[in-house]
């Protein structure tokens, strides 16, 4: 049982794709302009990673070693295209918003990396869970970064949720800061880099602190209050 726990902990926190492995940053930077966009693409990626883990693992012993990469890419590409078809059919608004970034999930190196490094060596259940945990970790980072950029850049939260859930969710959009003029840098690509840097810094700070505490070297070290990111927890 603890194997499953380890996989979850690894994917969501310890080996987080966005904060630690720093893989698959292209969509992370491009789509994280709002909370809804970030979480939606994160979940689509998580779905693809779960499916590809589950698809590759059972046939891992039948794939000749020399052609494993083309076969993995083929499987990932097929799964992404299936997800794209489904989104086009049933979540059209979101499909239009995420646009080119849905097919680009194929080229997100994190998908292939987990298939090659994990699914090709582990049983089905573990492989699928690993894909899911890694995808969930990415989704969390995308969500937090999207929420930060959206609040700072536009003063809203959940904008565009009607695209994901249908028109009835229109009233869910929160205007966190009323009459906000907007802060353009946060919405433009540099905002993504700056925001991500703060998140990575917060994660590193937290990891260092836990490591130091575990050593018990110096219990009196006062935590340095950055005050920049409210997301360290």
């Amino acid at each position: 049982m603890s194997a499953y726990k380890d996989i979850l902990y690894n994917g969501i926190w310890k080996q987080n794709t966005g904060l630690v492995q720093l893989l698959g940053l292209c969509p992370l930077l491009a789509v994280s302009s709002t909370l809804v966009n970030g979480v939606s693409l994160g979940l689509a990626t998580a779905l693809v990673m779960t499916l590809s883990g589950a698809a590759v693992s059972p046939i891992r012993n039948y794939i000749p070693n020399e052609i494993r990469i083309p076969v993995y890419i083929l499987i990932v590409a097929v799964l992404v295209t299936v997800v794209q078809y489904l989104m086009n059919a049933y979540m059209y608004g979101l499909y239009v918003v995420l646009g080119i970034f849905i097919p680009l999930i194929v080229t997100n190196c994190i998908v292939l990396a987990r298939v090659e490094a994990f699914a090709a060596k582990n049983p089905v259940g573990h492989a699928a869970l690993d894909g899911f945990a890694m995808g969930l970790g990415l989704t969390l980072v995308l969500g937090v970064l999207g929420a930060l950029r959206e609040v700072i850049g536009k003063g809203t939260l959940f904008s565009g949720i009607d695209l994901a859930l249908g028109d009835w969710a229109h009233g869910w959009v929160l205007h966190v800061i009323p009459d906000y003029k907007g802060f353009l840098v946060a919405i433009l690509p540099p905002g993504a880099f700056i925001g991500l840097a703060f998140l990575i810094a917060a994660k590193n700070w937290h990891s260092l602190r836990t490591a130091r505490k575990a050593q018990g070297a110096d219990a009196t070290v006062a935590p340095v209050e950055g005050g920049c990111s409210p997301t360290a927890h």
């Binding site: 052609i67 083309p70 499987i75 299936v82 489904l86």
Partner: protein, 216 residues
């Protein structure tokens, strides 16, 4: 030696072929299963967009099916064939829905769709796709501001040529300080699309809709 190498390559190739065939099969089935829904969703979205542009009392025909393909034209700024939807009321031509492209936006092309009544009056313009600066040039989207509604009801007859400009250039249209390139591009594209409509008014309505399969 050569024989085993050939056999190994052959086995690898067959293996790859096997996976490709399975992948193709999965894709083909998904395509077939979702095709109808995707078509319906896209037509529904298009109809919703047209409904924003054209008042419902202006047409009673099947506007999605009543189309004509038109060649690329410098007046429309298009580079390939586009589809015109034709609205008719009691069999009489009442309006067309055209796609046009403003090539000179602040960051690239701005795609618009507009509806023009048979008398040359614009009933509505919407921006379909653009890359203008968020928070600055994006007020051409209806979601951000009502600016785009400035075009409603305007025509060449009731607005002479020099008024098809932003106020800064001596025209009739509002703009926001700091972002004049964007509205200039949209106004110019709309104006040119009206010119196109006037030059092709007769053929736009008369050429029959393509029979059978329609490319969307």
């Amino acid at each position: 030696m050569r024989n085993t190498l050939a056999r190994a390559s052959f086995r690898t190739a067959v293996n790859l072929l096997f996976f490709s065939v399975i992948g193709t099969f999965v894709l083909a089935s998904t395509h077939l299963l979702t095709e109808e829904t995707i078509k319906q969703t896209e037509e529904g979205e298009k109809l919703k967009l047209i409904a924003q542009l054209l008042p419902a009392e202006l047409y009673d025909n099947d506007i999605i099916q009543d189309t004509q393909e038109i060649a690329a034209d410098p007046l429309l700024g298009t580079s390939g064939t586009t589809v015109v939807h034709r609205a008719r009321l009691h069999g009489e031509p009442s309006a067309v829905v055209l796609e046009a492209i403003a090539p000179d936006g602040y960051s690239g092309k701005i795609s618009i769709i507009l509806a023009i009544r048979a008398n040359g009056e614009v009933t509505g313009v919407r921006v379909v796709n653009h890359h203008e600066t968020p928070g600055l040039g994006d007020y051409i989207e209806l979601a951000k501001s009502a600016w785009i509604k400035n075009f409603d009801g305007k025509s060449h007859a009731n607005r002479p040529e020099p008024e098809w400009k932003v106020k800064k250039d001596g025209g009739q249209f509002d703009y926001m300080a700091g972002a004049t390139i964007t509205p200039r591009a949209v106004i110019k594209a709309t104006h040119k699309a009206l010119n196109y409509f006037e030059a092709h008014r007769d053929t736009l309505f008369t050429v029959a809709a393509p029979a059978g399969e329609k490319k969307s």
